[in-house]
């Protein structure tokens, strides 16, 4: 057992690090861990993010595993991980390409025609175009296949009507991937088709939604007779569910991570030194230590699970379902840590983000964590996935499987 790179991996890491240090700026270790999670981006964040992406693309560092013909590096999965680790040491701008690079791009690469790949992938790699994912609807979140936005064929186009919601980055996106109902007369999964849409086309209205942390990361998107060329369809009519699964698998892999608690653990150690309980530093209180220890083993458990899957990857295997586990554990951990960081400040914990200790990161964590526990598969859905796909327990009893979609029972319209 060791944590060493193979000689090839070490050489790659070295090359990556050299380029990053020459072209980027090292991250400040005391930086507030919560900025990105809270979707608090500075001014000009789009220009900055585009410039960084272009710089990487010009040097062929933008998409490590993607084919060279579309601007990628043609590397392997392990190299992609190493690049990610090295880039994490550098100050990076807002992750506005995360959906394009993490979900939409891999889906286009897997299901698109040559023409589609050439049209979309290079400009995504080079940071010229921003993508969003329009899956969820008011009546279809966890039950994504219950979506109702329709597409009706009209000549070479499809005419789209309906509404999407919770669409992160829709307000700045150039393109969106979405799933539409093309046939309501067959069971729900069978009536879906997958499209790419131009977010600047007439017939689209985007309305930002304010989140509980006051950020406006996501939006409502309305379609009013939007015309989408049939050339923008990915894969066959009626095959949309299979394509959507590709997107979702990539989504879990890309938001799995460690739950993104950043520097929060170090901050907690510091805080429990600075604050007092009964005239002594809080860390000398056994109840405080009990709680910190619990956070530590959960956090490390996720981190070391990541190393185990990297080992599998490095030995040529496939990553397993641990990405679902990382989000399930990590998001709740963030919420628990946020709450505890406020608790030990006692009444002063009630001070808001702007005025609180340690740049308000505890308050921010508590306000950002619920989003993580919901986005990209809720905790409950992740438990279902673990129970059914990993443990092979019986699937949920379903009332919607073999009936035509129009006959599926639903709640009152909201």
């Amino acid at each position: 057992m060791d944590f060493n790179d193979t000689p090839e991996e070490a050489a790659f890491r070295n090359e990556a690090r050299t380029w990053l240090e020459a072209n980027g700026e090292l991250r400040d270790p005391d930086e507030n861990a919560m900025g990105v999670l809270s979707e608090r981006y500075g001014e000009n964040y789009i220009e900055q993010a585009k410039a960084w992406q272009k710089k990487k693309a010009d040097a062929r560092w933008a998409c490590i595993t993607w084919p060279e013909e579309y601007g990628g590096r043609g590397g392997n999965a392990m190299q992609s991980v190493i690049w990610g680790q090295e880039e994490a040491r550098i100050k990076t701008p807002a992750p506005i390409f995360s959906i394009g690079l993490g979900m939409a791009g891999p889906t286009v690469l897997a299901h698109g025609t040559e023409q589609q790949k050439t049209q979309w992938i290079p400009k995504l790699v080079s940071g010229e175009e921003i993508w969003c994912q329009l899956f969820s609807e008011p009546a279809a979140g966890s039950d994504l296949a219950g979506l109702r936005t329709t597409a009706v064929r009209d000549g070479d186009d499809w005419v789209v009507n309906g509404q999407k919601i919770w669409t992160t980055f829709a307000h700045i996106a150039d393109w969106g991937v979405l799933v539409l109902r093309t046939d309501p007369n067959v069971p729900k999964h069978a009536g879906l088709s997958y499209f790419v849409i131009d977010m600047h086309a007439p017939g689209i209205e985007v309305r930002p939604i304010v989140q509980i942390n006051r950020a406006t990361g996501f939006n409502e998107v309305f379609f009013n007779d939007l015309r989408v060329p049939d050339a923008n369809r990915l894969d066959a009519v009626g095959n949309g569910w299979a394509v959507a699964i590709t997107t979702l698998m990539n989504e879990r892999a890309s938001i799995g991570g460690g739950g993104g608690q950043g520097n929060l653990f170090a901050d907690l150690m510091q805080l429990s030194h600075e604050l007092e309980i009964d005239g002594r530093p809080a860390i000398e209180d056994s109840a405080v230590r009990q709680q910190i220890a619990d956070f530590y083993v959960r956090r490390k458990g996720v981190e070391y699970t990541g190393l185990r899957s990297l080992t599998a990857l490095s030995r040529g295997g496939m990553p397993g379902p641990e990405a679902s586990m990382a989000k399930l554990v990590g998001a709740k951990l963030l919420q628990d840590m946020g709450s505890f960081g406020m608790d030990i400040q006692a009444q002063a914990g009630a001070i808001g983000v702007e005025a609180a200790l340690q740049q308000g990161s505890w308050q921010e964590a508590l306000l950002a964590a619920p989003g993580l526990r919901i986005a990209g598969g809720t905790d409950e859905i992740l438990r279902n996935i673990i129970a059914e796909r990993v443990l092979r327990l019986p699937p949920e009893t379903r009332l919607d499987k073999d009936v035509a979609f129009r006959d599926v029972p639903s709640g009152p319209a909201s």
Binding site: M1, D2, F3, N4, D5, E9, M78, A266, M269, H273, I283, S286, V288, R289, Q290, I292, A293, D294, Y296, V297, R298, K300, G301, V302, E303, Y304, T305, L307, R308, L310, T311, A312, S314, R315, E322, M325, L328, V329, E380, R383, N384, I386, A387, E388, V390, L391, L393, P394, P395, E396, T397
Partner: protein
Amino acid sequence: MNFDFSEDQKLLQKTVRDYLEEHSPLAVCRDVLESDKPYAPDLWKGAAELGWLGAVIPEEHGGAGFGHLELCLIAEEVGRALAPIPFSSSVYLASEAVLRAGSETQQQALLPKLASGERIGTLALAEKPGIVSEASVQARFENGALTGTKVPVPDGMAAGLAVVAARTPEGVSLVLADLSADGVKREPVDSFDGARPQATLSFENAPAELLGGAGQGWALAEALLDRAAVLMAFEQLGAAERAFEITKEFTLGRYAFGRPVASFQAIKHRLADIWVAIELARSNAYYGAWALSGDEPELPVAAAGARISATDALELAAVEMVQLHGGVGFTWEYDCHLFYRRAKALGLALGSAREWRDKLVRRLDAQSK
């Protein structure tokens, strides 16, 4: 990145599992629980013959000369089988103590016998209820004579040799005591997990000899507990995984309301949570194994992390095992209580998770200064 066991190590683990499946079904555990036997002697003999007892003892002292990584995997299988043998006491504690602190003479005299299973060792620290600490050691050792009472001592009836913490003029020291000598009295005490029974050891001017430096005993004991914590974490992990598998199978086969109880979401989610706890424990244990095998400076933190995570996972798996079995889970006849008992007993051996959480954060804190 190489954060996993090697193919050879996994192969060894498989031979251990195969052997235990054949020779240590749960009936063997139950047999010790229901009798006055302190352990299963045939199984002990088998473990010796296969080299498990001397896994980390060098070949020149009669050991198998594997490393700690191999021992971690053997421990996992011993845990999985709920093997009723004094493996942890003799291998993780007594043998480690002699290996780490014994003089050349002590090593020559004892290691071959510990490896062959002819002598069983244990570690005797506790004297009364409450946290065991340097200050709680009241037994005395002077002029070669040991006096005091240790209770509870795991495997105290099975052992022929004890490493005992005692006060000497220089402070707390570890001493080696032959339990068949004059001046030693031992008695079984009723044990929460009767398949891994405890005893009272009373010493009245019993002959003993120093193990390691005088006054170094507590530091040595702490180091031993750290090393044992990693191995114990693997034993706990093995037991947790087995408890989980049995529970899963049971809930798949048990029907209520016309469907397997494993199809109810309340049950599925709990099984998912146990699986997650076990995965976290496994990852923390691997890190402990890495630190133990290379004697890394991270060992004290890694050991505490492994210990806490494994205790959490096994306790959860065992508690839910009883619950998800329903009424039969509460019967003596079903095996759930074997796991329920073992979970608590292993969770308390070496000190409770509560103590390890305290230790962990003190250590992290010391590191950050």
